[in-house]
Subunit: 211 residues, 2 copies
């Protein structure tokens, strides 16, 4: 049975995968940078719903890539996304990834205030210097807190990637962020997650570094 | 608009999510431990395909939980899964998580042999002492290498979680592992990923620690 498996060279696997995704996608309205983001989401999940549920506010992908090229940092609410983002390529552009979820003072403050750690993480990110892209892959509460911080003028992100996953306030949080004037990329509906957040960040980073 | 969002206490969010998943699942053949694993996969992806595509070899979930209770370690081919596994709870049971993907000697050896880093990672895992659960969330080549190592008697995992995602040899690799006598949990088809691997590991760990 092992003999039936065609050996594909490691460096060929991603290319071949993308060709298969192209052939399954067929005719699609997506082009250019947005198409590359859609494909990377499908690549990480094998879920073609991402060809339908992704929302880009006007020019948001290009705006995010330009910010990364200027050295913008990425703040995320999930350690898994932080782990999946290509930090080497991002560093070459001058940026870093920040995730404050495991900081003991974040846990302490969240408990004292009765809010999620993710909300507090967004506030920690807000305080960082320089241009910032927020990538929310887990907690709708992070996206809701961002919406509040944007509304009160306390933070002005270069872009927001809003792809929390789940069942409690997830869709509502995405609708909130889509109503702001901040450039955003959102997976509409319940789907999303750390893998999707990392995939979108990586697609943007690769576009910025001309990979 | 913010006022329309019902505030749910952080500690209530997961419970509420699971209730919603239950209500959407409705009548299901899954029960007990297997149901808890199915639900955690849906919780991390919002993708109800996992109610249909998960395969458990006979008693595999129980066998994996028992191994974890005896202190089995988890070896994974993805840093993201390693990051998402609850290492604190696992340590309380006596186990650790290992991922060798970033080891420089792994990259060197993989390049020299023309194989993937993931394959070499499985060999590194094989050499660890004690009981081992392999959780493959990314590379079908890791699962194929495991199949070979099992077939040649070089490794005898307590259990294999086979949930690589993608388009090149993914389905074939899962079929191979399902043919072995090793207890396995597999997401049939193209779907899977780091988030699914971590979700299954965590469901097993929580069952083992009576959370």
């Amino acid at each position: 049975m092992l003999e039936e498996i065609e050996i594909v060279k490691p460096e060929e696997i991603e290319k071949r995968s993308m060709e298969i995704i192209d052939s399954i996608l067929g005719e699609t309205a997506w082009t250019g940078l947005e198409l590359s983001i859609v494909k990377r989401c499908i690549h990480t999940s094998a879920d073609f719903d991402y060809a339908k549920n992704l929302y880009f506010s006007e020019n948001s992908a290009k705006i995010a890539v330009d910010a990364l090229k200027r050295g913008a940092s990425i703040i995320t609410d999930t350690k898994m996304a932080a782990s999946g983002i290509n930090k080497k390529k991002l560093a070459q552009l001058g940026g870093s990834v920040y995730c404050f979820m495991d900081d003991s003072d974040v846990a302490r403050e969240a408990k004292a205030r009765g809010v999620t750690r993710s909300s507090v993480c967004m506030e920690r990110g807000m305080a960082l210097p320089g241009e910032k892209i927020f990538a929310v892959g887990n907690a709708p509460t992070a996206l809701i807190r961002l919406y509040e911080l944007i509304g009160s003028g306390k933070v002005s992100p270069a872009a927001v990637i809003g792809v929390p996953v789940g069942f409690v306030n997830v869709e509502e949080s995405k609708q909130l962020i889509m109503k702001t004037a901040v450039p955003c990329i959102v997976a509409q509906g319940r789907k999303g997650g750390s893998n999707i957040a990392a995939a979108i960040c990586n697609a943007l980073i690769y576009a910025g570094s001309g990979r």
